[in-house]
Amino acid sequence: MLLQINNLHKDFKRGKETVHVLNDLSLDVEKGDFLALMGPSGSGKSTLLNMIGGIDRPSSGSLIFDEVPVHDLSEKGLSQWRADHVGFVFQMFNLMPVLNAWRNVELPLLLTKLGSKDRKTRSLAALDLVGLSDRATHKPGELSGGQEQRVGIARAIVTDPDLLLCDEPTGDLDRKSGDEILDLLQALNEQQGKTIIMVTHDLRAAERAKKVLYMEDGKISTTRNI
C-alpha cells in the first residue's frame, strides 16, 4: 500500500462557524493506481488533495505514505517530503511567467544536489517526454494552454516522484488539449507506473482512471472500478 488515510478530519473556521470539510475520511491508495476524484463543488476534493500532498495539515487522523507518517512531519520535513515524493499539476498550470519552459521544469531540481548540466539534461528529457522539446526556450506566455499544462506535467515528473496529484488538470482546457493531457497522464500511469490522483468534474476525464471515487459529506461515498 502506497498511501493509507485513516479517519481524516479537516475543519475550517469561517467566522464563528466551524465547517467540517473532511469528516472521518479513510482511503487506501495502491502503488500504480490511477484515481479520479469526483463530487460536487465545495465537497472537499481539493482539500483532500492538499492533505495528501502535504500542503495543508489535517485537523485529526493519519496519513501514512510508504510508512512515513506525513501528518506528523515538521514544516521543513514536509517541504522535503513533497520535493522527494510528490508532483503537483494544477488547473491554472501555475508556471513562472518569467522563466522559459525548461527553466520552469528545472525548478524542483534546484532543490536537489544535481549540477547545472544534469539539471538541464533532465529538464529537457522531461519536456521531451511530454512532447515539447521544441518549445524548451519559450516563455509560458508564448505557449497555448495545452502546452502550458504539458510543461506543468514535465515539472511535476522531473524529479521522478511516486505520486502525481492533479487538481482539475483539464479544467481550463478545450476538449482536444484536455484529451492530450489525459493521454499523457494515462501513459505516465501505465508506462512509468506513476500513482495518480486526479480531481475532475468531467466524466470523460474520469473514465481514463482505473477507479472513480465520489465525495459527499466529507467522505468517499462510492467507489467505482473501471
Binding site: F88, V98, R103, L107
Partner: protein, 386 residues
C-alpha cells in the same frame, strides 16, 4: 549560486519598476559619494590637526611673513618641543588654472612634527638630502599621474616668489608620494625651504608661519599666550592658536557642515529604505501565487525568505556600486572643483561604508517582504490564484 539566477530573473519581471528602483538607489549613493568627498574638502584641515600642535601666524593676516629668527625664540619657551615653519609658495603647473598648494618646509623638523606622514612611494632620505626634492600628496599625485612619475624632473612656477635670476620657474625632483596616517590626504606638496630661500629674489629670511609641537596639549592656551607675548610691540606681532582652531576658523563652520551633510545623507538613505521596502513588498504581493507554487514544489519557508532577501540585497548592492563608481569617476575628474577645494577625493573607507550601508539597507528592506513570504501558507496563496 543556482538560486541567484532565478532571483535575478525575478528582478527583470517589471523592467520599469526595476529601472526606477535602480535609478533612485543609484542616485542616493552617487550623492553619498559626492557628499563624502565634499565633507573631506571641508574638514580635511580639522582631521589633520593634532591637539599637540600650535600655529603661530602674523597677527594682522596670515599672508604676512614672520622673521626666521622667531623660531629660536619660540623654541626656548618651556613646553615647546619642536618648532618648524611653512610658507605659501603659490605654485602653478603649466596653466594658471593648475594651482598647487606647495609649501617650503624644513624637512627634518617637518617630519618630526608630523610623524604620521607616511611615504607610499619613494624615499624620505632623498627628500631630506636633496634640496630640489619634492614630496607630493597622494591625491595630487593621482591627479597628475599621467605626467608625473617618481624620479621625474618637474618644473613649477610661482605666482609670488620670483627668483634671483628673474624667472618664475623652480625645478624639482619628484622624490616621493605621501599621505597622513592610513587614509588622510592634505592635498599638498612639500619642498625644501633652503632651496626656496636661496633662490627667491625677495623676502629672504622670512617664513609664512610657525608650527609648534608642544609636550602637553593641556598647556596649549598657556603656551600660545607666552608666544604672542614674546613678540608684543614688535614689528611683526603674532597670533598663536591650536592647529585645530585654526583649521576650523579657516574652513568655516566645519562641524556644522559635517553634521548637515550627515543629516542629509541619513534622510536620503532612510527614504531609500522605504522605497526599496515598499517596492519589494509590492513585488512579493504580486507574486503571492508563485510563492505558493514554489513552496508546493518543496521550497522551504526559509529558502523562500532568503530568496526575497537576496533579491533586495542584489538590487541595492548593484545600484549602490554603480552610484559609488559614478561618484568616484566624477570626483577623480573634478579638477575644476579642486581649484577651490584642493582636497577633494573619496576615501576608500567611504566606499566600503557605502557598500555596507547598501547591504544593510538591502537586508532590512528585504526583511519585511521576506517575512511576508515566509509566513505565507500555501493553501492561502493558491486560493488567491484560483
Amino acid at each position: 549560486m543556482k538560486y541567484l539566477r532565478f532571483v535575478m530573473t525575478n528582478l527583470k519581471r517589471n523592467k520599469t519598476r526595476l529601472l526606477f528602483t535602480f535609478l533612485s538607489i543609484m542616485t542616493a549613493f552617487l550623492m553619498f559619494g559626492l557628499l563624502s568627498a565634499l565633507k573631506i574638502a571641508f574638514s580635511a584641515g580639522a582631521d589633520i590637526a593634532g591637539k599637540d600642535r600650535l600655529l603661530t601666524l602674523h597677527k594682522v593676516t596670515f599672508t604676512q611673513p614672520l622673521p626666521i629668527s622667531y623660531g629660536r625664540q619660540i623654541e626656548n619657551i618651556d613646553g615647546v618641543e619642536i618648532v618648524s615653519h611653512q610658507t605659501w609658495f603659490g605654485g602653478i603647473y603649466k596653466d594658471p588654472r593648475n594651482q598647487l598648494p606647495l609649501f617650503p618646509v624644513e624637512p627634518e623638523k617637518h617630519l618630526q612634527i608630523y610623524p604620521e606622514l607616511k611615504l607610499l612611494e619613494g624615499n624620505l632620505d632623498d627628500w631630506v638630502s636633496n634640496r630640489q626634492g619634492l614630496l607630493v600628496s597622494k591625491s595630487l599625485a593621482d591627479r597628475f599621474a599621467e605626467e608625473w612619475k617618481v624620479g621625474d624632473r618637474i618644473p613649477i612656477q610661482t605666482s609670488i616668489w620670483r627668483k634671483k635670476d628673474g624667472t618664475n620657474t623652480y625645478d624639482f625632483d619628484f622624490v616621493g608620494i605621501y599621505q597622513l596616517g592610513e587614509d588622510l590626504d592634505d592635498g599638498g606638496m612639500l619642498m625644501n625651504y633652503k632651496y626656496f630661500d636661496e633662490s627667491r629674489a625677495f623676502g629672504g629670511g622670512t617664513v609664512g608661519w610657525y608650527v609648534l609641537k608642544i609636550a602637553n596639549p593641556d598647556d596649549s592656551a598657556q603656551i600660545a599666550k607666552e608666544v604672542d607675548k614674546l613678540f608684543e610691540n614688535s614689528s611683526a606681532e603674532t597670533k598663536t592658536s591650536t592647529e585645530e582652531a585654526f583649521a576650523k576658523s579657516f574652513a568655516g563652520q566645519i562641524g556644522d557642515i559635517g553634521k548637515i551633510i550627515n543629516a542629509v545623507v541619513s534622510a536620503v538613505f532612510f527614504t531609500m529604505l522605504l522605497v526599496v521596502a515598499n517596492t519589494m513588498s509590492q513585488s512579493i504581493r504580486e507574486r503571492t501565487g508563485e510563492i505558493g507554487v514554489l513552496k508546493t514544489l518543496g521550497f522551504s519557508d526559509s529558502k523562500v525568505m532568503w530568496m526575497v532577501i537576496l533579491e533586495a540585497l542584489f538590487i541595492t548592492l548593484i545600484s549602490a556600486a554603480v552610484g559609488l563608481l559614478l561618484a568616484k569617476l566624477f570626483v577623480d575628474n573634478a579638477d575644476s572643483v579642486r581649484k577651490y577645494f584642493p582636497i577633494f577625493y573619496i576615501q576608500q573607507k567611504d566606499i566600503v561604508v557605502g557598500l555596507i550601508i547598501a547591504a544593510v539597507m538591502g537586508v532590512i528592506a528585504g526583511l519585511m517582504p521576506a517575512m511576508q513570504a515566509l509566513r505565507l501558507k500555501i493553501v492561502d496563496a493558491m486560493r488567491k490564484v484560483a
